[in-house]
Symmetry: C3
Subunit: 346 residues, 3 copies
């Protein structure tokens, strides 16, 4: 277990330390927790008015608060401009994800023509192909595969089981979680007399710096030219990025969100869970697509977009759902009624 | 191929054996099949009235039936209270999934500080990290990775390619299918001036006993505290369980179902395929969520819940779908018409 | 980089070469690109009227065109009947996916009772189990696992991390992309007093020739009998095929499409992204299911089928979505109004 002094934590987070009566700046912080669950030794945070009610009775040793909430903090306050951001930074202090000694572990297979920086880690069972380059401080997890000519940038971590095909370029300080696949073939076939003719996918994948990608996510290589993921993009588990898609810088995509071939998603977009974006369209910077929404045409104006119906108990839902199938008929009836009644009213 | 006597099968399944004329209790049962597809040597079952019509002509050697159906069984009857449950137990008799000799196979990498029970199997290419514990009779499949401090309970099987991150606890007698990922980082980032600040995920994952998890499923570790999967939970392929979710005992979740961060799903729920549950809500014990439904608020009352629209041919669907976008307008027109007509009627 | 003469390309694609003024049949073709992005040395194609406007100014060295467009081609024309199909064939010429020398690489584990054709490749970290058969020219990628008694047909490629369970049969000339799982247990459990009783999945998986399967896709083994994928079927990433499903020849399934247990999908169907087909139903040959559609009953008549609602800005969507929950009530009001107004009109 890690522990830090209040003073150290305040310095690391750029917070102003306001000690509670009896507290000392050398007091230990040994963990992080929510206001309600925190115990002695914990640092907590008040980032939303929803949790304000838990402030009074928190057992935390210290709380990250805004100036406006500092007076109400019953324990030591660490005053910051943005408590949620400061909390995020605090999690880095307490992160205990294991680290590994630089070098190539026993059981890894590194091709003689691969270039692995001496400060990089290649863990057991990983396969590094010819002409691949692994940057300084990069960590290639157990049983990962890096294809020919692919580049893994400095400081980037591939967790266990990640597969990067040939001719893909991953930026610096990225993290890719387990069993995700970068650079598999886009889904391209031409109809032929006797079935489907494969369109070989000749492009690659280009991923910017500071990108995080979840587990079991797939990013296909381009058919002609690259699939491109911008800087600072955050991608959750089970996401599908098809061939030749472009995702703008700092866009975030939740689990199961999918972008079909050659679509362009702007910068700083938020794509919620299971949202789909069809192929060959563009989504404006700053657009928000809500959960399970299917976007079927280009969006030029940023804003929030939705589709689907509200959920309800199945019995009620069925009654309404049946009417959906009659909707055009109902609308026509209303129009006719309006005509009749309007006339009648005159 | 396995074979058992009718007598042995009856004893194993707690069934009352009613031999058909000419049959003997030592007759061989060599397989299982449906009433319609069964051949000589097969055991079959009648578990639903839908299949009753196949009973008369079945070529099965014996059939699991309820007392009420026994008289109509043209072949040897194995009378049980619950034929479907008895059929499930019969599948265990005929299961031919390969077994492996205890020990650490050549090509596995076991850290010197890991504890592997001598009755456990660690197959080729598996990586067992420092301070991990592998319980008695557990099977760690080829190319699996078990992280530091993680525990795999007695009798639990990880099939090929499963990744368990550090500090996760898998119960006893679980089965996790290939390429699933337990304990990767939850999707947590705080907005910062220059993009997103990572919220390191400091919690773990805790999975109860007798849990089965399909292939390519992901269960993220908690941000603070654990993600918790109850006892006897059954999870299909491609399921996503986000950080700090709790799934109650014996709940079943079909393919692509997803639960967002910090949501709590009750006990004995049935979550159908591609159903989504948003973050920070609770679902009552015994709730059923239908396929592709998006649950956007807490459910306090058990029952069945649905969203979406019925499918139809695309031409009809388009006509109705266009009207969905006019629905508020149509409803207002109807209200106005009511006013007018109501008045007129008075 | 590859390069071919115009003459060679024309011969390979069965095209009629019509040289532009100053061009020679020995001129080099060094790549492929779209009309708009092509540069000198590139072969391009005009396969859709949408792209006709780019023909005039293309910088391509040659363009695959139909006879009808040949006169308008400002550069060398390669005249073919189907330019898109010819383009697909051209991608095969320029494919630079790495090839490997036949044999078993260092770090692979091949069981002494497995049969690996001497012309096959088994890459590092792959595990080939007892009685598995690997056909002529097949490529088993790094860290793949092939289970007991399974067959990988001649010329079939498993890319890195693919898991094939025991007793599965993959045809010839298939390609399966990384981290997909073939033959894991179908999701079958019988309700029991103390939770769920596992139905062991006694069947296997049978995949025809010329099938392509994307990354992170799962095809479950049958409960009784096999799950069957027909010849020439094309399956994208993240697809779920449940136990005992049958997919007809040449059907194509996009990302996240899913077929539940025992459903039968016909031949030459197109199943779009995130479309779901419930269990135990049949879909006619040649049916098209649109994105995110849930098919809940058998389709006997080929055609295009859809469900869901159009997307719009969330504010408008909310107004309409609320009305969906009142739809049955609205329909009843309209019916009443019709009665009243109809009577009034008489």
């Amino acid at each position: 277990m890690k522990n830090f002094s209040l003073d150290h934590v305040a310095t690391e987070l750029g917070a102003e330390l306001r000690l509670a009566p009896g507290a000392g700046s050398a007091d230990d912080i040994t963990g992080l927790n929510t206001l309600a669950a925190a115990a002695a030794g914990d640092l907590s945070f008040l980032a939303s008015a929803n949790y304000r009610r838990f402030l009074e009775d928190t057992a935390a040793t210290a709380v990250l608060v805004k100036e406006a909430d500092a007076a109400d903090c019953p324990v030591t306050a660490l005053v910051v401009e943005d408590p949620y951001l400061a909390f995020a930074r605090a999690t880095a202090l307490f992160d205990d994800t294991p680290h590994y000694a630089p070098g190539i572990e026993h059981g890894a297979q590194v091709h003689e023509n691969a270039e692995v920086d001496p400060t990089a880690v290649v863990r057991a069972g990983a396969v590094i192909s010819a002409f691949a380059k692994i940057g300084a401080g990069a960590v290639i997890g157990p049983n990962c595969v890096v294809g020919e000519d692919s580049v893994i940038g400095a400081g980037t971590q591939l967790r266990a089981g990640v597969v990067v095909y040939h001719s893909c370029h991953i930026g610096e300080h990225c993290m890719i979680h387990s069993n995700s696949v970068i650079g598999s073939d886009g889904f391209g076939f031409a109809p032929a007399a006797d079935g489907w003719e494969k369109i070989y996918q000749l492009g690659g994948v280009e991923i910017g710096d500071h990108v995080e990608i979840g587990s079991c996510t797939t990013i296909d290589r381009g058919a002609l030219g690259n699939t491109v993921i911008g800087r600072g993009v955050k991608i959750d588990n089970h996401v599908q990025i098809a061939h030749n898609v472009e995702i703008g810088d700092y866009t975030a995509m939740a689990a199961y969100s999918a972008v079909a071939g050659s679509a362009k998603v702007g910068k700083r977009c938020l794509i919620a869970g299971d949202a789909g974006i069809v192929g060959h369209i563009s989504i404006a910077d700053g657009t928000q697509v809500m959960a399970k929404t299917l976007v079927t045409s280009s969006i030029d104006k940023p804003g929030s977009y939705s589709s689907g119906t509200p959920y309800s108990d199945t019995r009620s839902w069925r009654k309404n759902a049946v009417r959906f199938s009659q909707l055009d008929k109902i609308a026509r009836k209303v129009a006719e009624l309006e005509k009749k009644v309007g006339k009648a009213g005159k």
